[in-house]
Symmetry: C2
Subunit: 178 residues, 2 copies
């Protein structure tokens, strides 16, 4: 019985199909319209995908450049206290040969560290004698400006500042004339 019922259904479908082809043109026109719409939609999707590829490519290029440009930021920052300590060690007066020889060694190490940092784009922030710039300098003390010093001039550097290209790793700690 179930099989018979299925047969009936198939016949109905066939009847419908015959009816459709008899209704001349109309279904073809709507098929063309449908296909045209489907094509337009797909074309739109493709164009958007292509635009996305171009965007991704640019975005990734920029991201890669930024990552390379600032890659030494973290390690560079961590080296600054070591450099401070070496400079402090060099600032102590020594009177005997042993210490002088040690100091000479420390001086060379400091020089090689500075060169390595510079090659990665890390340089000391100019401070002494410059006009105070809150983006680069941190004023920890002010002194009255003397006659030959313009206000806002940095008269002393308490701790050197460093920047990686345009990014400040650490501002210079300075004394400013006011």
């Amino acid at each position: 019985m179930a099989k018979e019922k299925k047969h009936e259904v198939e016949e109905e479908v066939e009847a419908e199909e015959t009816m459709e082809t008899e209704e001349i043109d109309i279904p073809e026109v709507s098929e063309v319209e449908d296909l045209t719409n489907k094509f337009s939609e797909m074309e739109d999707k493709f164009l958007r995908a292509r635009a996305e590829i171009a965007n991704m490519s640019n975005r990734n290029k920029n991201e890669r450049e930024q990552l390379i440009r600032y890659r030494s930021q973290d390690l560079g920052k961590k080296l600054l206290p070591a450099i401070d300590n070496l400079e402090r060690a060099l600032a102590t007066e020594v009177t005997d040969d042993q210490s002088a020889s040690l100091k000479k060694g420390v001086e060379m190490v400091l020089e090689s560290l500075t060169v390595a940092l510079k090659e990665e784009g890390i340089t000391e922030i100019k401070a002494e004698g410059e006009t105070f710039d809150p983006n680069l300098h941190q004023a920890v003390q002010t002194v009255p400006a003397e006659d030959d010093v313009a206000p806002e001039t940095i008269v002393n550097v308490l701790q050197k500042g460093y920047q990686l290209h345009d990014r400040v790793l650490r501002p210079a700690m300075v004394v400013v004339a006011q």
Copy 2:
């Protein structure tokens, strides 16, 4: 006159259109076929673009991860001679207070440099007492293996080696028992 000519053209177009509808079905079928083909082609282009987007996304993620993972490779490598020099300075015997104080300072600097490198994934390559591995060690000298030392064991390190994660920045220069 120009207007008349335009009118003529329009009439021609209309005539063509009428002709097309008179040539029953055939052009519609081929139009449907054409459109179906065009749609398939466009769909194919879209799917390829979408696959390209997925590929780019994966590729860029990997590239970014690699760049971050190995970002300290260049600066780290340049710091190694400075570390060698500091270690050499510490190896010298000192007898007076001035030098001892300087040495203490150098020791602290070395410690802070080592910590900074370690945080970036740069560590000393194990060497003394290890089995010689040509990927990590460079044999600069061999000595006869004594009774209690297995052949290919590293018995002395002439210069420390360093690696950044799995990458060797500099192999260890070693003396191997054979």
